[in-house]
Amino acid sequence: MTGAGTGSGRDEPPPGAGRADPEALRLDLDGYEGPIDVLLTLARAQKVDLARISILDLADQYLTFIGAARRIDLGLAAEYLVMAAWLVYLKSRLLLPDDDDDEGPSGPELAEALSYQLRRLEAVQDSGRRLMARPRLGRDVFARGDPEGLAIVRTTTFKVSLFDLLSAYGANRRHRVEVLRVPHDALHGMADALARLSRMAGTGMGWRSLARCLPPDPGDGLVFRSAVAATFAAGLELARRGLIEIRQPRRFGPIHLRARDAAEPSDRGP
């Protein structure tokens, strides 16, 4: 834990290094990332190697700083107060003789951990600045704007053997049994419905409910539903062709169909 290597972190002054000049504390905490950042800024202002800094002094400075800040802004974020409380505790652990029964870390160990955290954060902040100061691609240096690309001609060979092919087919055949089949011969189709409705339209029928347009033997259950669906779909198709009109006076009410008015013969078929 010598601080020999950490000196490099002080090559360049951090941005806003002067902001925590202990004589002229700026009480605005907006610029800080959190209590640790405040501590680090205070520590830097001491211009001593962080490894040799007095944590006790630092704790006092922080408490003064936060005390002053609090007089101005009572809504100070809780984390700053938590840190203040913890530093008071740390001070007591450092100043009072250590209790041997104590399970937790000793006062000096706590102080050392804080010191380590500050040095590590300082290293991080310094590294971040060094990174950002590097010539950056797309900002300071540029790559080829329009790389032609290196053509790689890929010839793909597909690996499948005849055995793979045959077993795939075999597996497929096997699974055929599981496919659900719906017997559809018995259902009413749209072709019949079209023919029927066209005939009815040809006779110039007046408004007639959909129910009375169904085939003579609509059946029941699924078969009956197919008759209704086919007739309705055929009705829509004929309406599209301009042969009939459809109306439904209210939602979910009965649907009526009639032949187009004879006054518009142009709309009729030949």
Partner: protein
Amino acid sequence: MDQDLRLIEAVLFASGAAVSEAALAERLGEGADVAALLDDLSAHYRGRGIRLCRIAGGWTFRTAEDLSDRLRLERRVSRKPSRAAVETLAVIAYHQPVTRSEVEEIRGVAASRGSFDILLEAGWIRPTGRRNGPGRPTTWGTTTQFLEHFGLESLADLPNLGELEAAGLIDPRPASAVVAAETAPG
């Protein structure tokens, strides 16, 4: 090296498209002899791997044409098609000519676009015509390449269902035989 020349070199390098002499002049500022600088730069790259070219009213760097063959790299990639693709191929082989939706129907699975793409890429299937009927869908069959790849002389060489079963490739449950007989082509 002349600073303006360096700048032109960097600008042409970094630009995503050919740069006009006017644009170069604007960058260099008053008094720069753009034409002379371009001549210099062009001379410098003569005979190298890169060349300064005049394209579409502007200037740009391009790799030397005579290197184009050596710039290409051939790679042989071996791929194993997915199970779905293999099954799709099998269905097409046995049921051709067959439409995409018939393949889906036989496989009992809806999505097969990816499989068709792979089989087309492999050169194993081809459109053989159109089916009369709503939408006139394309029908598919296998290619000569397909026969070559699988060492078949003709499609007649494909084992029939009975032979597949005898070879243990079909579960000989009675139901499957019934269904298979029902849906066999022809």
